[in-house]
């Protein structure tokens, strides 16, 4: 097919195109082409270039000169024959739209921008886009930044991180389940390093003890055995819990979130899980202890949530069931909530 498409091109132009495609370099300057093709003068080059341009096998780029950054330089880039044929088969409008979508690369282009750039009527743009999409030349992607915009890019391209939002987004939706499960895994890893055997025996402290801790020097300062960011990263990579590749900064942002949640703390570059987070997760229980026993010499702590009476938050969710109970009798911290 390609042969028939390029049949009517003179041999010299064909040779030039072949050379440009075969060396694999993306673009050439005028001098480079003259030198490598051993052409006699610029006019000869221009003649060939014009033929290729007409056929859509070549495009002209503009770039800053290597010698003088203020000066512009003309570059030639080849286009494969299939590509050229594809464009050649399109209508003129389609070709224009296609060229803009192509230029946008992995970032994609908004339909409104296409309309503005091409100066075509909206209907025409939409028709072109539709036809290109059915031919699988372009695809529409959802942008995380602008969820309402319709953005197009070439079919074979993967959208850039700016568009997809990085590993935390699936189909441009923040994948909270994924994040939460990763958070739990990381927290558990750190907690295991901070408190010995804290997840053994259904959350009971081992050996019937009331506390089981590492000595202070392990938790802090020199010779600390707590995991650092790279340890956490290594753990995630080695455990294979996710197929999505996470960079160190992604892991760091997960750790930051855990810090904001007060589940872990950063101690001089290493991470330490808080005991409270272990308690909240149902760990750190004492064997044989009656958690509902009266607190004689202790003060009520809001973190003993099993001790918390009916809060008015709970009240709200159970509203349907507790209609018969006057709302007054459920009050607890409510003047703050209803502020």
């Amino acid at each position: 097919m390609s042969d028939t498409f390029a049949d009517d091109i003179p041999a010299s132009a064909k040779k030039m195109h072949h050379f440009m495609v075969s060396t694999g370099k993306s673009s050439y300057t005028q001098n480079e082409l003259i030198e490598s093709l051993k052409l006699s003068n610029v006019a000869e080059l221009m003649e060939n270039a014009q033929i290729l341009l007409n056929k859509g096998l070549l495009k002209i780029l503009e770039a800053a000169s290597t010698t003088d950054p203020n000066e512009k330089q003309i570059l030639f880039a080849s286009i494969s024959e299939q590509e050229a044929k594809k464009v050649n088969d399109m209508t003129a409008d389609e070709a224009i739209v296609y060229s803009h979508v192509e230029a946008a690369g992995r970032e994609g282009i908004w339909t409104k921008t296409i309309k503005a750039k091409t100066n075509l009527h909206q209907h025409i743009v939409l028709r072109c886009l539709k036809s290109l999409e059915t031919q699988s030349y372009i695809k529409s992607v959802k942008s995380v930044k602008h969820p309402t915009r319709k953005i197009y890019m070439l079919y074979h391209l993967t959208p850039s991180i700016d568009v997809t939002g990085g590993p935390w987004f699936t189909d441009s939706e923040l994948d909270t389940d994924f994040i939460d499960s990763l958070l739990v895994v990381i927290w558990k890893f750190i907690a295991q390093k901070t408190y010995p055997k804290c997840f053994k025996k259904k959350g009971f402290i081992p050996n019937g003890l009331k506390q089981y801790s590492y000595p202070a020097q392990i938790i802090t300062g020199m010779g600390s055995l707590l995991p650092s960011l790279s340890d956490v990263n290594d753990f995630i990579v080695s455990s294979g819990i996710t197929t999505i590749e996470l960079t160190l900064s992604d892991v760091k942002s997960l750790c930051d979130v855990l810090e904001f949640d007060e589940k872990i703390e950063n101690v001089g570059g290493t991470y330490k899980a808080t005991w409270q987070s272990v308690l909240e997760a149902g760990g750190g229980k004492i064997e044989g202890e009656d958690v509902y026993a009266p607190l004689d010499n202790q003060i009520f702590n809001i973190n003993d949530n099993y001790r918390v009476l009916d809060t008015s938050l709970k009240d709200e969710t159970d509203e349907n069931n507790t209609n018969n109970v006057s709302s007054n009798s459920m009050l607890y911290l409510d003047s703050w909530i209803n502020l």
Binding site: K210, S213, F260
Partner: protein, 705 residues
């Protein structure tokens, strides 16, 4: 209420609406001394000062009745009065201290009962309910001499532990009035002395007068600063000197005791007291205790400050339990108990006076131009944190072990303590033993020597276990906590364990429960702990009530200082819509502030970015929260009262003589069910009240720096 001469039938809504503290306290007063007193209190609360005529006019209560109520309120320390020196008129104003004592009454009694005995609790209860008492009046009714001596001893114990203090003149005056007197005095002092200075200056001598009182070339502003300083000095002196304390003990009865040994002074006295002396005092008290007698005619009252120290310590222990661990918290309890009495006051009187002095106006028509300088607070904070580590507040593991071995009052037992620290050597040993066993199996006979050793080791281990068992048996028999100082080899192990726990207390970066000065020596940084404790409590409330997401966003904003919505969503990995809702909640509760960052020269609001930041040290959010807790406590009690009122017929019935004790027979089934409901709701209300109080204490008392 103006002009209303009719006495309302129930506590008017004004008592509830004018301020949370007024609401809570009037509800408390209603429970203790009746509706009319609560009503009067709320009226006084609404006015800065009010005369008896005005009070009568506003309340509709007249003559003797009103006077009786006022006497009771004054007695309890809920109302104070000012006598105008020129006209002789008396004005009344409210005083929260007395109300707080009543609010915490049950907690105080419970603690005293646990720490001392039932009799002590009884005495404390009587003292609080009467406001203040003399021992003479207390024992007047008692016939038996031995009983009297017992009661006297109880008073001595309570005075020694600083729970009871003598009543001072300024207890009945508003603080600001005492300060005003000090300012007047300072003004006079300055004028007199400066004249004297001028005179000596005229004589040609450059000595004589105090250069501090030199007026020549001094601006009015400087002069007022000097007078304020003088007033502050005088005010603090009044608090520290505490003129009544000399009379507290009977003279001549304390043979070996030295006046300085008896530290009764309140306020900043801790700043100046030498705790080493105090320690000696503790040791020496036992020998001369019987000789120590209190003056029967000096009125004594509860020191609320002393209770606050206990309250602060329980709070710290509770936090420690959740942040570090159960046993460490018990060790921390021992630590705090040891230094509780000597520790600095929760509300630093100097801080209070500093703030009052800053607003004082000096001279005729003089006004305060400068206001409170935050650097004064910073400086005071530094000084107070030095107080936390002064002599006598330091301790090591040995002190804790000694304390544990001497007293049985701590919950911590030896068995609880042992094994709490993961000992790497043990693990290593076990691993090696396993390894050795494997080797043994692989190469039979070759390692005869080794196997012998490991057998020996295992035997030793068994022996140890046997020992433990015996100890346990013994412990059970003696009901001892198991800390025995005579066993030297074990002592070292226990010391190491205690030291490890103390070190664990220093590892918390957010909340330094202890600080290590020199290796093995620690002190409790009360002053530095103050703000983290408040923050912690607030954030736990936010987390518990508003949810984890809110805490996450709040911490993110705190961490990034100034950040806009989109970035917050990026950092906390939450949906933008969710973040927006959370921020709305946070701003509503006064926790974060909005800052507009204009992008165009004309500050077009459409193009501006709105970023969020933390309200300075959460000052606003904290005060809102504290007040809400107060209000809810009032609601809880109010609701309790309502339930009682609604079920009055039933409650009247069961309190009848013939019904009491035979409820099951005489009440209908529905009535029994109703009764059960009433009791349940009463329990819930009281539990709510106590929990709210436990959470709120941190926000209400303490220094804000």
């Amino acid at each position: 209420m103006s002009g209303g001469t009719k006495i309302p039938t129930e506590l008017p809504v004004m008592a509830k609406t004018q301020s949370p503290s007024c609401f809570l306290h009037s509800v408390i007063l209603r429970a203790y001394i009746g509706e009319q007193a609560a009503y009067i209190y709320s009226i006084i609360h609404a006015h800065r000062k009010i005369s008896i005529q005005q009070l009568s006019q506003k309340s509709g209560i007249k003559g003797n009745n009103l006077k009786k109520i006022l006497v009771v309120l004054i007695q309890l320390g809920c109302v104070v009065y000012i006598t105008d020196s020129r006209s002789g008129n008396v004005f009344y104003s409210h005083n929260e201290e007395g109300c707080w004592k009543l609010t915490y009454l049950d907690d105080i009694i419970r603690h005293v009962r646990k720490k001392f005995s039932k009799l002590h609790a009884e005495v404390i209860q009587n003292v609080i309910l009467k406001g203040h008492l003399t021992i003479g009046a207390y024992v007047k009714e008692i016939q038996l001499k031995s009983e009297i001596e017992k009661i006297e001893q109880v008073f001595v114990d309570l005075v020694d532990d600083k729970w009871l203090v003598n009543v001072k003149d300024f207890d009945f005056k508003p603080l600001i009035e005492t300060l005003n007197e000090c300012v007047r005095h300072a003004n006079r002092e300055f004028t007199n002395n400066s004249q004297q200075y001028l005179k000596t200056g005229d004589d040609g001598g450059n000595g004589g007068g105090n250069p501090r009182f030199k007026t020549a070339g001094i601006s009015q502003l400087k002069k007022s600063i000097i007078i304020k300083d003088l007033a502050k000095e005088r005010m603090l002196k009044i608090f520290v000197d505490n003129d009544g304390k000399d009379k507290l003990h009977k003279t001549g009865m304390r043979n070996q005791m030295n006046d300085a040994d008896i530290e009764i002074a309140k306020g900043v006295s801790t700043l100046f007291s030498d705790d080493e002396d105090d320690d000696n005092n503790n040791g020496g008290t036992n020998s001369v205790k019987s000789l120590k007698r209190l003056n029967g005619s000096v009125p004594l009252t509860l020191s609320f400050e002393r209770f606050l120290k206990y309250e602060r310590d329980t709070q710290l222990i509770s936090i420690c339990k959740h942040r570090i661990g159960n046993i460490t918290a018990l060790i921390y309890q021992v630590v705090l108990n040891r230094i509780e009495k000597q520790s600095r006051d929760v509300r630093s009187i100097e801080n209070i006076v500093d703030k009052l002095v800053a607003d004082v106006s000096v001279g005729v028509g003089g006004s305060s131009t400068s206001g409170y300088d935050p650097s004064i607070g910073e400086e005071l904070k530094k000084r107070l944190s030095l107080v936390d580590q002064q002599k006598g507040m330091n301790f090591g593991a040995a002190d804790i072990l000694k304390e544990l071995s001497m007293s049985n009052k701590y919950e911590l037992t030896r068995d609880d303590l042992i094994g709490t620290i993961n000992n790497d050597d043990d693990d290593e040993y076990e691993k090696n033993a396993k390894k050795r066993k494997l080797e043994e199996d692989n190469a039979n006979g070759n390692s005869a020597k080794r196997s012998k050793l490991s057998k020996l080791a295992s035997q030793i281990k068994f022996d140890d276990e046997d020992d433990d068992d015996e100890d346990e048996d013994e412990n059970q028999n003696n009901a001892d906590n198991g800390f025995d100082l005579s066993n030297n080899s074990e002592n070292n192990e226990l010391l190491m364990l205690i030291l490890q726990h103390l070190k664990l207390l220093t590892t918390d970066k957010k909340m330094m429960f202890l600080r290590e000065t020199t290796p093995g020596h620690f002190y409790v940084p009360f002053t530095e702990l103050r703000l983290p404790v408040v923050d912690y409590q607030m954030k736990q409330l936010i987390k518990g009530v508003l949810g984890n997401g809110v805490l996450r966003v709040l911490n993110c904003i705190e961490d990034k200082r100034l950040i806009e919505e989109k970035n917050i969503a990026k950092f906390v990995l939450m949906r933008e819509g969710d973040v927006r809702k959370i921020i709305a909640t946070l701003t509503k509760f006064g926790l974060v502030e909005i800052q507009e960052i204009p992008r165009t020269a004309d500050r077009n609001a459409m193009r501006s970015i709105f970023a969020f930041k933390i309200n300075r040290k959460y000052l606003r959010g904290r005060s809102i929260l504290g007040k809400c807790l107060m209000f809810n406590m009032g609601e809880a009690l109010d609701q309790l009262e309502q339930t009682k009122l609604a079920n009055r017929i039933l409650l009247d019935k069961i309190s009848r003589e013939d019904v009491r004790g035979r409820e099951a027979e005489l009440l209908l089934e529905s009535e029994l069910k109703q009764l059960k409901e009433v009791v349940e709701s009463e329990k819930t209300a009281l539990a709510k009240f106590q929990r709210l109080r436990a959470m709120g204490g941190v926000f209400w008392f303490g220094d804000d720096f």
